[in-house]
């Protein structure tokens, strides 16, 4: 049996009070609940304070470049689909630098779970606006406030019929662990966008700001109803719905490659006879 201690405890580089601690805790709980041991899991992250999270638990880790967690995770999953692959990074990394990869991952519907630490600000580079920062949000690099409209990752993912779309809040560890575990269990692309405070650089969207607004979806809410999900995903104001906003059963990307079932790339070897025949046929 896997237990939470298997994932260890590490010294972190995070500020006291950072929402990352709660997300890390929820992640470990989700892994235990999913019956996954450290060796079964590959974390792929980008760069940022959130992207350091995989260093603080026992697992396989590929901590790559800023914005590039999803392509690296996609390659790893296609090489060895028997791994549970979790991509984890922040809002700047995932939706800014990696925006195109986010759209492509949703379209592919590859079976991996993307957990985004979304605090609406850049932390590691010290407080610049992120793609999810609200209009008017003042920073040293946006001294007149952010002019651009914020990116709503949940609404975009729902609009694109992503396989599984959830929004969580770092203040609700048990609920968040449940969302991550559901994302892992979902046989396709799963987005868990996690709202969290940044105690150092976001003095607007604070813990209490989120606490006041984040409201669990009612039990009768049907996440398979796309029209309702579009509406729910767009809600952002005095009330911000959290929970599984949308899911469907689109076939996952891997299902189009029979070889991934029988002989995934990481397991395969060269079929020299087949290659000889291919070469011969070129004569």
């Amino acid at each position: 049996m896997v237990c939470i201690e298997d994932f260890g405890t590490f010294e972190t580089a995070w500020c006291p009070g950072c929402g990352n601690f709660a997300i890390l805790e929820a992640m470990k709980k989700a892994l235990v609940a999913s019956g996954l041991a450290p060796r079964d899991v590959l974390f792929v992250s980008g760069i940022g304070q959130a992207a350091k999270a995989p260093h603080y638990l026992n697992a396989n880790v590929f901590n790559g470049l800023h914005g590039r967690a999803l392509p690296a995770a996609t390659g790893a999953k296609l090489a060895n689909p028997r791994l549970t692959v979790i991509a984890e990074s922040g809002d700047g990394c995932t939706y800014g630098e990696g925006g195109n990869h986010f759209l492509a991952a949703v379209r592919r519907n590859i079976n991996l779970t993307l957990v985004v630490h979304d605090n609406q600000v850049y932390g590691l580079t010290k407080g610049q606006a992120s793609p999810t920062s609200e209009q008017g949000f003042v920073t040293k690099t946006q001294p007149h406030g952010v002019f651009s409209a914020p990116f709503n990752p949940v609404a975009v993912a729902v609009a694109m019929h992503a396989g599984f779309v959830a929004r969580g809040f770092s203040g609700e560890i048990e609920a968040l662990a449940g969302l991550i575990a559901q994302g892992i269990a979902h046989p396709g692309f799963a987005l868990v966008d996690v709202l969290q405070p940044c105690v150092s650089f976001n003095k607007v969207n604070t813990f209490s700001w989120y606490r006041k607004r984040c409201a669990p979806l009612p039990p009768e809410y049907d996440p398979t109803d796309w029209d309702a999900a579009v509406h729910t995903a767009a809600e952002w104001g005095e009330r911000i719905p959290v929970g599984v906003i949308y899911r469907n059963d689109r076939p996952c990307f891997e299902s189009h490659f029979p070889v991934l079932d029988t002989r995934p790339p990481a397991y395969g070897s060269v079929d020299r006879d087949a290659l000889r025949e291919i070469i011969k046929a070129m004569g």
Binding site: L65, G75, K77, A79, H101, A104, V259, P265, A266
Partner: protein, 560 residues
């Protein structure tokens, strides 16, 4: 020069000249001839002016020639533009409906409308050219079917009508009979790279389309299902390289293929491969830059870029095949080198070699040793550290999910177990560890090959795809009783001067031949071993180097 025949097919994009070229080339190869194909096409789908040139010979040939013996003109423009290329005794084949001045050359004006459907002029032309060359009708028809499928019934009729009509004219330009030899296959540089990579253990490839790199992926895709490969078109080149690195990290030998502009986007991935010590093969099929440049033409202008791309310091190797045979071998070797050195290995090719079909002896997959990362995984151990300090700099590479070892890789500077560190003493040791791997690449470095006189008066130094042109230019000099030789580098980094400096120093005149304006390889040689050549031959107009071009330049430079 050798007894060879060059057939130049010219016309607009969309007129079917590629079909004629492919049918003729294949029929020539199957008849036992050697060929060198040069494709010159404009970056457009319809219209413009394109050529497909096939040079054929009963004895081995290695380069294109500028002169043509048969000009198959799909339009008057092709006659006007290429009549100056015709050798003495050259023959023009054109639709009788087209008006052009043939300047006294033999001209076969094809009554296409009376021979069949004028729209099938290209297939009639294949039959005519085949008849002129003395090729077998049945073989041509078989090649036609393979090229266009069985569905085109009228195709066979047009081909036969063409060849019958041509025979009745009594005009001929037949080749000497080929010497009985082993059967050959027809393959271009990019196909050979794909075959070599598959033989070498490739399991994963990702790309974003960019000419002339894309055809490596097309070749892989056409065999992917059978060979169990995953080939994915990524959303951009940045994704392509990061995807390949993810796949390689997880145990699938991986490559990407692109051209200069796409490679510019991949540069961050090169550095990531260096830092995370992840094997990857990066094929850069060069075309003229800067920026979008000439998308469908050739150049060797990205040597410096590929040599230096990626921030930070880490080892790399650059291979530069000079023929399809070398493409096959070096693709497999690149995968092995990447695995041995746990880092990036590049293959520099270009549009000319990528598209140049040749007749080669069938490649033997058994002649290369494929990589199997899974088989060299270390046994489970407590406290496995992905970046353990070792004497060679190479740390035992475990793969995630194969055993209990946890594999942690990081783009940040890291400790032996792969976690972020800002311990500066560890940083310095990691730099040294990574750079120690350069010794493996130096040890495995392929020496340049000298062809011709071992003590030459003129040594033509070249790299990559210019091998054939330099070799034939040197042969031409030798035939004029000049002691000449070619020194070809199929690996341009790292350089091990002991392997070639003595030859450079004892040669009376050393000329560096390369397809760029600034002499990038010449400068590299000077930087690495202080050697300054006597002259340079460079070409940067988008066309491949030819023996004639080199000889003209040698005269202009006062070398001969």
């Amino acid at each position: 020069m050798e007894k060879s025949v060059t057939i130049l097919i010219g016309g607009e994009a969309g007129q079917g000249l590629l079909t004629v070229g492919q049918i003729l080339s294949k029929a020539l190869v199957r008849s036992g001839y050697h060929i060198v194909v040069t494709q010159d096409y404009m970056s457009r789908i319809r219209g413009g002016h394109n050529t497909f040139v096939v040079r054929a010979s009963a004895s081995p040939i290695h380069a294109p020639r500028e002169g043509a013996d048969i000009l198959i003109a799909f339009d008057a423009r092709s006659v006007n533009e290429h009549i100056r290329n015709l050798n003495d005794g050259g023959i023009i084949v054109m639709d009788a409906e087209e008006q052009a001045d043939c300047q006294g050359f033999a001209c076969l004006r094809v009554p296409a409308a009376s021979l069949g459907k004028p729209a099938l002029f290209n297939i009639m032309a294949a039959g005519i050219a085949g008849a002129l060359l003395g090729l077998d009708d049945g073989l041509l028809e078989k090649c036609l079917r393979e090229e266009v499928g069985d569905s085109l019934q009228e195709g066979g009729e047009a081909l036969r009508a063409g060849s019958t009509w041509a025979r009745e004219t009594g005009v001929s330009r037949s080749l000497p009979p080929p010497s009985p030899d082993t059967p050959r296959i027809m393959v271009n540089g990019n196909e050979a790279l794909a075959l070599g990579a598959m033989a070498g253990g490739l399991r994963f490839a990702s790309f974003y389309p960019m000419t002339p790199g894309t055809s490596v992926m097309l070749a892989l895709l056409s065999h992917a299902d059978r060979m169990g490969l995953i080939v994915e078109q990524a959303e951009d080149e940045i994704a392509a390289v990061n995807m390949a690195l993810g796949a390689s990290f997880a145990g699938a030998p991986a490559l990407v293929a692109t051209s200069g502009g796409g490679f510019a986007l991949m540069a961050e991935g090169v550095s990531l491969a260096g830092m995370t010590e992840t094997p990857i093969v990066i094929i850069v099929a060069q075309r003229p830059g800067p920026a979008t440049g000439l998308p469908t033409r050739t150049e060797q202008g990205d040597l410096n870029f590929v040599l230096h791309a990626g921030h930070g310091e880490f080892p790399r190797a650059l291979l530069a095949p000079g023929s399809p045979e070398q493409c096959f071998k070096l693709a497999a070797r690149a995968l092995r080198l990447a695995e041995q050195s746990q880092g990036p290995v590049f293959i520099l090719t270009d549009q000319f070699l990528a598209d140049s079909c040749r007749a080669v002896e069938p490649f033997d997959p058994g002649s290369v040793q494929p990589v199997h990362p899974r088989e060299s995984c270390p046994a489970d151990e407590t406290g496995y550290a992905r970046y353990a300090f070792t004497e060679s700099g190479v740390s035992p590479r475990a793969l995630p999910g194969f055993g209990a070892n946890l594999v942690v890789a990081d783009s940040d500077e890291h400790t032996e177990d792969g976690h972020i560190t800002e311990n500066l003493a560890v940083r310095a040791r990691m730099v040294e560890k990574r750079l120690r791997k350069s010794d493996i690449l130096r040890k495995e470095c392929i020496r340049p090959v000298c062809l011709g006189d071992e003590d030459p008066d003129i040594l033509l130094v070249c790299w990559g795809s210019t091998l054939g042109a330099a070799r034939e230019a040197a042969a031409e000099l030798s035939s004029r009783a000049i002691k000449a030789a070619t020194l070809h580098f199929s690996q341009v980094w790292p350089l091990v001067p002991e392997g070639f400096l003595p030859l450079l120093e004892r040669s009376r005149k050393v000329v560096i031949v390369e397809g760029n304006a600034t002499g990038q390889f010449a400068r590299l040689l000077r930087r690495e071993c202080g050697f300054v050549p006597h002259a340079r031959v460079s070409r940067y107009d988008g066309l491949p180097l030819t023996p004639e071009y080199i000889l003209r330049e040698l005269v202009d430079e006062g070398i001969v």
